[in-house]
């Protein structure tokens, strides 16, 4: 008998079908990867198994767990299963943990609740579980904010596995984490379920990650499983067109036709840039400043695409703000087109460098029309434009990013995530800058959309000769798009060189570690052979 058997599960919210007849089987000891793009119903599947669909949702079909159908079971019965027989790990550990409870109390709570354990027994169980997830050095009395992101996710996992559940569901458990931490957390999850002889459902948008971590894979699209089976078989055969498209998009490298002139004078240059943040101030006492950039130097030549990779806290965003002269720096200098560029520089000089953010919904004022948004940097131009001329410029910029002229009259919320990012790119392009800084510009996008936006960026660079500083934590994206790559760690650039060379033969151990930790579909399949 299968541990979990889902038969023709349908879920509708209002009139909208979310899951349209989903079936799958899971045996004890298996790791099942569920992949799909956002909106495909991955998370809803997880919540349906737990009997936690959103309010107003109607469920049909059967979810048999250990032979018992969970659909229609009263909530009290389900509560007894949740946290005991079925554990769940969420994407964002900071919000999944209670910020005002110690981690020990949060892990102990599970044992108190389900097993009626005494305070002392529960505390001992919590200690044992935290030891199991690799937090042996961390006292039970710590609070979530005192831990790193990876440690917090370990605590969340400890809560989920405290009672050795038969089934563990992890929904994007590593998406909020750095790539080196991600590898450790995935290994931990696999190790724990193997030890307990339990099953794991690993939900992810990342094909390569699932290919590395899961034995079986289910590919979801529009509330249905389009293909499922043994991981190696599914990804090697790529029988289903959707799976094939996903794999192609995940691995796609944009094609570039124009090579940058490496002899040209740099358009943007940093020389020994130092940035200090004021430390935490005490009462009547200035704090010790924190040094976020320790003398960073870099050069970007016209038309060049330079990747800046590093994990969170490495100083990438701080460097970007310094290069854009949004913050003042405490040492060194930034040169734009050969002349010093500081927050005090004349505003019109900003025309030469524009910015695109990670989250297009946050970087576009929701109250503004697209025309007004895209036209915002136009006031950097010397000449004031008449409204028709302005409109013409906006339409031309929208055309460059593949959006129709009518888009100008609409509001950002009327567009999809990929389209919004195109709007943000159009806004950067409208003043014909020499450099565009892209801060994790494709990280919030689904693989298909991401591949399209990367293609667009490559084409724009070829057509317009604009240089990019591409800040990303994603080594795969950096490898695909950039000419040269800078690896950043703890406020310093530890390695730099042509992208192909750095990836083929990393010189710094940290670079090697980053590359090894990044999931890679081809490598994962080769390892399965």
């Amino acid at each position: 008998m299968a541990l979990l058997e889902i038969q023709d599960l349908k879920l509708t919210i209002g009139d909208a079908p979310i899951l349209r007849g989903l079936s799958l089987n899971l045996e004890a000891g298996q790791v099942l990867g569920v992949v799909g793009e956002s909106g495909s119903g991955k998370s809803m599947t997880a919540l349906s198994i737990l009997g936690l669909p959103p309010r107003g949702a109607a469920m049909e079909g059967a979810v048999r767990f250990e032979g018992r159908d969970l659909v229609g079971l009263p909530d009290g019965e389900l509560s007894r299963l949740r946290g005991d027989r079925i554990g769940m790990v969420f994407q964002e550990p900071m919000t999944a943990l209670n910020p005002v409870m110690t981690i020990g109390a949060q892990v102990a709570e599970v044992a108190r609740l389900h097993r009626g354990a005494s305070r002392a027994e529960a505390r001992a169980a919590a200690r044992r579980t935290l030891d199991r997830v690799g937090l042996a050095d961390i006292p039970l009395t710590r609070y979530p904010h005192e831990l790193s992101g990876g440690q917090r996710q370990r605590v969340a996992i400890a809560i989920a596995v405290a009672l050795s559940p038969r089934l563990l569901i992890a929904d994007e458990p590593t998406t909020a984490l750095d790539v080196t931490t991600q590898a450790e957390i995935l290994e931990l999850l696999r190790h724990l379920v193997r030890e307990d002889g339990a099953a794991l459902i690993l939900i992810s948008h990342d094909l390569a990650l699932v290919a590395e971590a899961a034995d079986h894979v289910a590919v979801m699209k529009d509330g249905k499983i389009v293909e499922q089976g043994d991981t190696g078989a599914v990804f090697k055969a790529l029988a289903h067109p959707y799976t094939r498209a996903l794999a192609a998009d995940a691995e796609r490298m944009p094609i570039r036709t124009r090579a940058p002139d490496i002899q040209a004078a740099p358009i943007l240059e940093a020389r020994g840039v130092v940035r200090d943040y004021p430390g935490r101030r005490g009462f009547l006492r200035a704090g010790r400043p924190v040094r976020a950039l320790q003398g960073v130097s870099l050069e970007i030549r016209p038309g060049e695409i330079v990747g800046l990779v590093g994990e969170s806290g490495s100083g990438k965003s701080t460097l970007l703000r310094a290069l854009l002269a949004l913050d003042s720096i405490q040492g060194g200098e930034v040169l734009l087109a050969g002349a010093p560029f500081t927050p005090a520089s004349p505003r019109r000089r900003r025309r030469a460098i524009q910015l695109v953010f990670q989250d297009p919904s946050g970087s576009l004022d929701p109250r503004w029309t697209v025309e007004r948004l895209v036209a915002e940097p136009l006031h950097l131009l010397e000449a004031k434009l008449s409204p028709p001329a302005r409109r013409a410029k906006v339409e031309a910029a929208l055309a460059k990013v593949g959006l129709p002229a009518q888009a100008a009259d609409r509001y950002p919320h009327q567009f999809s995530g990929g389209q919004r990012q195109r709007i943000a790119i159009a806004r950067a392009l409208i003043v014909e800058p020499e450099v565009i800084a892209l801060d994790e510009a494709v990280s919030a996008l689904d693989v298909t959309v991401r591949a399209e936006v990367l293609d667009l960026l490559a084409r724009l660079s070829d057509d317009l000769g604009v240089a990019y500083l591409f800040v990303t934590h994603d080594m795969g994206v950096a490898r695909g798009l950039t000419d040269r790559v800078l690896v950043m760690r703890e406020g310093q650039i530890v390695e730099t060189g042509p992208t192909a060379e750095v990836f083929a033969a990393p010189k710094h151990p940290y670079t090697a570690q980053l590359i090894a930790a990044t999931p890679n579909l081809a490598r994962a399949l080769a390892a399965r052979r």
Partner: protein
Amino acid sequence: MSRSRLSATLIVGGVISVLFVVAALLSLVWTPYDVTAFDIGHRLQGPSAAHWLGLDHFGRDIASMILLGARNALSVSLVAVLLGAGVGAPLGLLAAARRGWIDELVMRASDVVFAFPALILAILITAVLGPGAINAVIAIGVFNVPVFARLTRGSALSLWTRDYVLAARAAGKGATRISLEHIVPGLLSVLIVQATLQFSLGVIAEAGLSYVGLGAQPPAASWGKMLADAQTLVAVAPLQAIFPGLAIVITVLGLNLLGDGLRDRLDPRLDEDR
């Protein structure tokens, strides 16, 4: 899930508030009787067909006094809110945009004003400046300033961290322009809600000031003054106190309901999804 466009709270609050404004406007052109005409012979007479709410201790028509009182309450608290928002909101915007010592100055000054119980200081101000409607406006307005300054600063600070503000900075826009183009439109809904709530507090404060004789002076009518006059007679003619009391309660309730309804309707947290 769609939120209903008009909640019961909003409708009830809106209707009461509109009636309040209509009563105030009506008193400008018409009242049932002239309140300067004393009908001493019928003083303290109860409600009748001729005088719906009866006559007070000078023989003035209470219904007419209530209408005039509405005008007084509306004008005093409206001007006080405009004063508070007009001074406080720009201060808050400035503090959020400039930070540093300007921010400290604005916020510490707000703290100082907040440190005094509002009504007591209002009484002090009017006692120094002398009683009267205009001084009541100043006294109440002074308390609205830090309320709006703090609210504006807090909301503006969170808007300043948005990526679209950073995008505007990267586009070379200055703090003033960003404040006007990106911050203010984002603040309007919170300011409107707060203005409604401060308006109702203003009505109470005005009634309080005139109750102790520091608000509008006769012949202008004020609900607070009417209450004070009726207090000594409450055993003899309880209705004298009930009508102005009801007027205050219903008006304040209506304005609060309107404020709550608007808050649900304009909740900035739900704003982004629309």
